[in-house]
Structure formats: C-alpha cells, structure tokens
Amino acid sequence: MKKLTTLIIFLSFVSLGHCQLIENLRVGLEVNAAWYNDDKNTGPFFDSDNQDSDKHLRANSYLKLDYDFLKNFTATVQLESYEPLALLNYSPNFDGTNLGIYSLNYRNKKLEATVGHFYEQFGSGLILRSWEDRQLGVNNALLGGRVNYSILDELSITALYGKQRVGFKTSDGEIFGANIEYDLSKSLGFSESSISLGLSYVGRKQVIDVMNPKYNELTNSFSGRLDYSKNSFYAGLEYVYKSEDAAVLAGQLINQFVNPGSALLINTGFSKKGFGLDATFRRLENMAFFSDREKAGNIYLENNVNFTPALTKQHDYLLTNIFVYQAQSQVVFADPQLTEVGEIGGQVDMYYNIRKDTPLGGKYGTKLAVNASYWSGLKGNYDFNNLSYDVDYLGFGEKYFSDISLEVRKKWSSKLNTIFYYVNQYYNQRAIEDNFSGEQIQTNILALESMHRLGSKGKSLRLVAQKLWSNSDNHDWIGGVVEYNFNTKFSIYANDIYNSGDDADTTETHYYNFGGSYTKGASRFSLNYGRQRAGLVCVGGVCRFVPEATGLSASFLYSF
C-alpha cells in the first residue's frame, strides 16, 4: 500500500503541469470486465478455480507506465488489479491489486542492463522464453537481473538470473541463463549470404524435498543454433539438450522415473516475388521444463521456462478452432495404453500470388495459401510397469494430428473481397487431451467470408458462413458471423455456432455472441454479450482451456 501511495503522490506532482516529464512517459491502460449470469441452458454461474458462485462481476485491469530519463534510463511499472476476483479461468494466483512488474533499464549502444522484471527469449524459445499474454493469463517475467553486451558488431552476450513471476509471487526455483549470438558472415566478410550461430545455457535450481533423490537440484540445458540464408533460400537448425530430471505424472514428482530430454528443430524455405515455400521439422522428447518441477503441465501455463508451441497453422475462424492441436512435449504414463514422451512431425506452408490480368488472377490477382501438418508420438518401447521407455530417434509412432488447409483470397472489385477457406483435420482426442474415452475425429471445415464496401466513409459489411462435417456422430457444426461497420470507428457484430451432433457437452446449444466497439486513435471500447463454449482459447500458438460461461463483458484500452 505504501508503494502505491508514493506512486500516487509522485504522479500527482507530475500532473501539476510538468509537461516536460510527461513527454518521456508512455502509458497503457487495459480494463477487461465481465458480469457472469446464470444460464437456463447451461446452468448457474460457478467459478471452479475459486470455488465461488457469488461474485458475478469481475475485472482484470492493467496500468503500465514507462518513463525515459537521463538519456539512457527507462523505469517501468505495471500495476495490476483483479477485483473482487480475476475473470473466469485465470489462475487464482492473480489476486487483488498490486504491482505486477517493476524494472529499471539502462541502455547505450554497447550495453543493456536491467534490474527487476524482464522478458527474454533465447533462440526460438525452445530453451527459454519469458513473456506476457494478458488474454491467456500468462506472465512469466523473470525477477532478477540481466546484462547484454555487444563485444563486437557481430558478437553479443547475455547473462541473466532470476525467479519467475507466478501471480504476484515468484517461483521457488531459480533460473540462470547465458546466451551468445555470433554473426559469422560478418567476420568472414560474406556479403551475399548470411550465417549466424547461437549458443545458450539455461539452468533451473530447485530444492528437492524427497529422500534419496535420483536427480540433481540443478537441471542444466544447452542449446546450439545455426542459421543460413542466401538470396531467396534460407535454412535453420536448433538443438536443445536437457539433463536428467524427474518426471511429473499427474502433478506428482516420480523419483524413480528420471530421464534426459531433447529437442530438434529444422526449418528451411525458399521465397521470391509472388511465391513462398517453408518447411519445418521438429522432434521433442521429454521437454517439459518448469521453474517449479511439480507445476509441470499446469492448466494456467504458470512456471513455463521454455516455449514449445504447436507447429500447426493457427486458424482464425470459429469452427476451425474446435479441434486444436497442442504440442505434446511432456512425459505421460497414464495407462499401459496411454503413454507418451514427446512428439515428432512437421509442417509445410506455400504462398502463391496469381498475377493480375491472367485468367485465374482476374483484374486484381488471386492470393493462395496452403498449409499441411502432421504430428505423431515417438515410436518405441514403453514399459508402463517399470516406468521406462526406449524410443527411436526418427520413428513415427501413434498419429496425433494432421491438418491440410487452403485459403483463396480474391478481390472482385473495389467494393467486394472474398476469402474461401477449407480445412481437413485429424484429431486424436485420446492422446492430445489425455482422455481415455477420447475419439479419433476427422473433420472437413469450410468457411466463406465476404467483405462489402458500402461507401467511402468506411461503411462496410462483413459476412462469414462456416460448416464443420465430421466422422463422429458427436460433431456436426454450423456457424456464421455478421459484422457491420458504420464508419472506421464504430462497429457492431453478431456470431453464432451450433452443434447438431450428439456430444453431451455442446449438443443443440447456441454459442452466440453479439456486441459493438468504438475506436478512436489508440483507444477502444467494446461491449459484448454471449455464451462462451468450453474449449481452447489460443493466442500465438499457445492454448488454454476455458470452461463454459455466459455473460456481459466490457473492455477498455487506452494508450499514449
């Protein structure tokens, strides 16, 4: 509380006309509020995370201030408020009003140093990533210190230490990290091609409280990366090794189940004007890496040290997001028939622009995007009773997921644009959700979108129709969206999806939403009422399960 009072006094002082100070201040405000109501169809309001059915009105609020001073310094604070409780599905660790983030940063051409909270990523994040996503309720900033120094133009090093943020507290485990980025092509004087090298170390130290542990307090992980590009061709390789650590099964540390982990990521592509091709291969084995071991696999995505998103296309339509793949990086020994230690697979993307004034291109050209992905478990011998496994390095085991999608974007006239979107998916519910009675679901999904411009002042109409067919009696969905923009500032929309299949959780229920938004510059206010389907909310490749809820929600964003 004292901190807050000091802050208010300081800010009041600032506001008394000291515009010079304000010029160096950046402010961001976000308030997301909801009023949850009882629903005749889906039951009364209940928050299972907090065991609460009384507090219908909730708000998550964030106020972030960045202040630049003395040429090289930046001070950052982020005040967060979850009152009286956080919105549904957020971790109960986000509780009350408090300072969530505070840091002081010094930066010149060669050196950057931070004390307090900071976000960091080594390589693609396979070994370390700390980040924030408010919609997902993720904030695993490290609280400690970090130094980055550019020894030469082509060589920089980073060293860091910290504990991870968990709600308003920190992890028990400590994180140590070091990273080197080296641009070889600069040293070798290559001008046409580029070669760069990266090396990282990340250690996690957490006190062990079991007798005769078979693993160490400190888990070490090492990563090496190589990237090459020349003209329109590029390729990259990343490998991570994680030292022996105990597995966590259903939230329990298993002292006699100790294994190392590894990750391999290979990416290559070719692109030139009007054409792009990209292919990725990845293998993960026992790569769950958490600042507190026993938090492995927690549903709130807390304590994640590394970042292993699903490498599949992130679709943007309602029905394309019902069966979403999630990367299987963790050891699961749930049943002799349900054992996993990782995943192997890949994806290919192709983009092509059919030129204008050709038969298929028409007057404005036609844009195509194709994606195909395939993921399976690691092939090998799993010994459920003795808690051991022996997997092949390049063997494909049980199929988990596949997805083929085609997008065709076409502009017909200055008034009409359309998008045709088709997806074919295979979803192994049993393996992906660790659900014993899960099905093997195959779907075909079609979405058609049209955008109509109705005048010069930004008046426009957007329509989307969607249909999902499946091989399962449980899933047969239909959906639609209507959006009307009065001008570039004010919009209203309504959408609905409906399952006529037999799935006990969703059958014959309309999941509808309607609302509007008003935008002015960087400020935006939106109001929405609707029923949320239980399922995954996905942002940037990470998904979190959210239960069913009905209510009114409002959001306000402001920044300057």
């Binding site: 208010i8 800010l11 009041s12 600032v14 506001s15 515009c19 304000i22 950046r26 402010v27 961001g28 308030v31 609020s61 106020l63 960045d66 630049d68 930046t74 009152e83 009003t97 976000y119 990523q121 693609s124 994040g125 408010r134 580029s194 590009s229 009007g274 792009g276 990209d278 490498l311 296309k313 992130q314 943007d316 993307d349 192709m350 983009y351 622009n353 404005y364 050209g365 844009k367 195509l368 995007a369 644009n417 998008i419 411009r453 930004g458 426009s460 923009n485 570039t488 938004s517 935008t519 510059g521 960087a522 400020s523 935006r524 940037g540 490749g541 990470v542 964003l557 920044s559 300057f560």
Partner: protein, 159 residues
C-alpha cells in the same frame, strides 16, 4: 480497485503530447538487429503497422495498403514498415507470406514483442504514423476504408 481507477483518471487528465518512438531492438528478415532509432533518420513520414501472420484483419489491412502503395509513394514519399509480432510458432511463415503476397513494405520482426510492449500495444492490427521520430498518430483495429484515413493524415503532415 478505487486506487486503480483514481490513477487511471489522473493519467487521462494529463497533458498529452507527441511521443518519441522508444528505443528498442527488432530484427530484419536476415536476422540482424535493427534499432528503432533508425526509424528517426529520414525526414519522410513512416507508417508503421504491427501485424501477425495469424491476424486476419492485419492481413486485410496490409493487402489493402499494398494495392495503393505505389500511388501513396508517388504522391508523398511515405514509407510503410510492417513489424511482425509473430512468435516462434509462426515467425517462419513471415518471409514466405510477404513474398507470396508481393508486399513491397519494409519488414521487421519483433519476436518476443519488446517493441509492442514498449508502445503498450494490446491488440492487433495497430498502426502508428511517425514523423521526425515523433509519433503523430496511432490507430488500432482495421475496417475497410481506414487505409484511406491513414493516407489523409500522411498528406496533411507532408511538407
């Protein structure tokens, strides 16, 4: 809670002036570090759009600008910079996508979202217009036709 809103009101009532673009490092498509201070070097107005490969309205906006970009440049010398906020899941898609779409914009990648955070960007798409290193206009969201409003602002500020 009350304190929170008092603080917010206090800020909204503050005098607001054009901001400098914060100094943060992003990467170009070859993977080299680029400081945002380079955006201040030229006198020409820059339209900087924050987008992601998975964000449909962002793609709609950049497609729409792409079609009239030549006209914009002929008239005003404006430069459009598209900064991808894609993280590890989708970053690899940036290069083939921009080539496949034939976009002529300068492209940078803000992979762990340092610049996005420094500018307090909450939702995409988000556009800022920069002149002499100062942010003279910001806008969030895209509806068809808002690219024309952007160009009006660019023209107003062209000397």
């Amino acid at each position: 809670m009350r304190i929170f809103f008092t603080l917010c009101l206090l800020f909204i009532s503050l005098c607001v002036k054009a901001q400098d673009i914060p100094e943060v490092t992003v990467k170009n498509l070859a993977g080299d570090d680029i400081s945002t201070s380079e955006f201040k070097n030229s006198k020409d107005i820059k339209v900087i759009s924050f987008w992601a490969t998975w964000c449909v309205p962002c793609i709609n906006e950049l497609d729409a600008i792409s079609e009239i970009y030549q006209d914009w440049q002929d008239e005003t010398n404006v430069e459009v910079i598209a900064i991808s906020t894609d993280d590890a899941r989708t970053r690899r898609r940036v290069k083939p996508l921009i080539n496949g779409k034939d976009w002529e914009f300068k492209i940078y990648v803000d992979e762990n979202q340092d610049l996005k955070r420094a500018l307090n960007i909450n939702i995409l798409p988000y556009v800022i217009i920069v002149k002499d290193g100062k942010i003279i206009h910001t806008r969030t969201g895209y509806t068809p036709g808002s690219e024309e409003e952007l160009f009006e602002i660019v023209k107003q500020h062209t000397d």
